[in-house]
Amino acid sequence: MTILAVLIGTLIFAVLAPILGCLLAGLDRKISARMQGRVGPPLLQPYYDVRKLIEKDDVAVNGTERVYIICALVFTLIAGGIFVSGGNLLMCIFVLTLGALFFILAAYCTSSPYAQVGASRETLQVMSYEPMVLFMAVAFFMAVQAILGMGSFDVRAVLYLDVPVITNIWLVFLGFLFVLTIKLRKSPFDLSYSHHAHQEIVKGVTTEMSGKTLAMVEVMHWCENVLFMLWVALFFVWGNPASIILALVVVAVVYFFEIWIDNNFARVKWQTMLTSAWVVALVAGGINIAFLAYL
C-alpha cells in the first residue's frame, strides 16, 4: 500500500515538478535580470535550453557519467514522490541525499580537475546543509508531537493539525532558510556549480557534462527546487484548506528572497560556508529542539 502510494506520488511528481520547476527557473532568470537592470530572457528560456541540449550530439568522457546522472534524477523523483504521497519526511531527505551523492559520483568519474574540484566542493556543501536538514525533520516530528500529542515524521500528519508547525519551530524554519540558499545553489553558496557565467572552476560539477546528460541535470535541479519549496510549504499547512494559499504566498516570498540574496552577495569560501551553516544548525536547530524536548 505504502509502496503503491509512493509509486503514484512519484509519477505525479515526475509530471508536475519539471513543469513547475521550469517555470520557476524562468521566473528566477527574469527577476534576476530585472534586478540587474536588464530585460532578461523569455519565461520559457530554461525549456528552450533543455530542448537544445537534447538536440546536441552525444559526447561523453566517461560513459558511466550518464548512468550516475540518471540515478540522481530517479532518486530525486522518488524523494518527491515520497513527499507528495504524504510519506516519511526523514526518508524523503535521505533519498534526496542519495540523489545528491550520485550527482557527486558523476562528477568524480571524469578525470577533469575542474569537475573534481567541483565534486569536492559539492561534498562540502552536502556536509554543510545536512545537519540543519536533519534537525528540521526531528523538529517537525517534535512539533507534531507537541500539537497532536503523538509524534510523526509523516508529511500527511500536517492535515490533522489545529495550528501549523511553524508556531512551534519558527527558529528551525529560519535555520532552514539559511541552508536553503546552499541547496538552491544560490550565491553566496554556489561554490560547486554556479548558474552565472564564469567561475574559477569553469562549471564545477557539470564541466564535463554535455548534451542529454546536462539536460537531465537541469531537469533534476528543477525537480529539486520544487521539492525544497514543498518543504517550505510544509511549515505553514494545517487542517484548514485555506492554509494552502498561505503556504503558496510564503513560498513565493521565500523564493523572491533567495533571488535577492543571490544577486546581492558575493561567493564565500568553503570554510565560511561550512562553519556558518553548522553554527546556524546548532543554534537554530539545537535551541529549538531542546526547547521542545524540555517544555
Binding site: 532568470r29 535580470a33 540587474q36 537592470g37 536588464r38 530585460v39 532578461g40 530572457p41 523569455p42 528560456q45 528552450y48 535550453d49 530542448r51 537544445k52 537534447i54 538536440e55 546536441k56 550530439d57 559526447v59 557565467a197 564564469h198 567561475q199 569553469v202 562549471k203 557539470t206 564541466t207 564535463e208 557534462m209 554535455s210 548534451g211 546536462l214
Partner: protein, 147 residues
C-alpha cells in the same frame, strides 16, 4: 526552426586581442544590449557552448589552444571571428609571430570586422551565426535519422 537558435550559449576566447574587442563582447551582455533576451549566455565551458567567439589573431602560441577549444565543443557549433585581428590579423598581419586570422586554425562561419568590433556588429554576426547553427542542427538530425 530548431531549439539551437533559441538558446545559443557562447564561449569567448581572447587570442591575442588588445582587449578592445573583448570589452565589446562583454558589453553585449551588459544591460545596454542585454543579449540574454535572446537566450544567449556566456559560458566558460567549451562543452556547454554552441558559438565560439574568437577575438585577436592566431599566433604560434595560441593556435593549439584555439584548436583544442574547437575540438572540445559539441556539434552543432559555429565559429565567429570578432574584430579585424580575428578576421585577417589586421595591423599585426606581418608580425614575425602572427600566423593570421582565426580561419588559419579552425573553420570560421561568420566574420565580424571592426577595430574594435562594435557590440551591434557582434550581435549581427551572432544572428547570422544562428542561421548557420540552425542548418547544422538540421543536418545533424538528418544524419542521426539516417544512421
Amino acid at each position: 526552426m530548431s531549439y539551437a537558435t533559441k538558446s545559443p550559449w557562447v564561449i569567448h576566447y581572447d587570442g591575442s586581442s588588445c582587449n578592445g574587442c573583448d570589452i565589446e563582447v562583454l558589453a553585449a551582455l551588459c544591460p545596454g544590449y542585454d543579449v540574454e533576451r535572446f537566450g544567449i549566455i556566456n559560458t566558460g565551458n567549451p562543452k556547454h557552448a554552441d558559438i565560439f567567439l574568437v577575438t585577436g589573431s592566431i599566433n604560434e602560441q595560441n593556435i593549439s589552444v584555439v584548436q583544442e577549444i574547437y575540438n572540445q565543443m559539441v556539434e552543432p557549433k559555429v565559429v565567429i571571428a570578432c574584430g579585424i585581428c580575428a578576421c585577417s590579423a589586421g595591423i599585426f598581419h606581418d608580425c614575425y609571430n602572427v600566423i593570421g586570422g582565426v580561419d588559419k586554425a579552425i573553420p570560421v562561419d561568420v566574420y565580424a570586422p571592426g577595430c574594435a568590433v562594435r557590440p551591434e556588429a557582434i550581435i549581427d554576426a551572432v544572428v547570422q551565426g544562428l542561421a548557420i547553427l540552425d542548418e547544422k542542427s538540421k543536418a545533424l538530425k538528418a544524419q542521426k535519422k539516417g544512421a
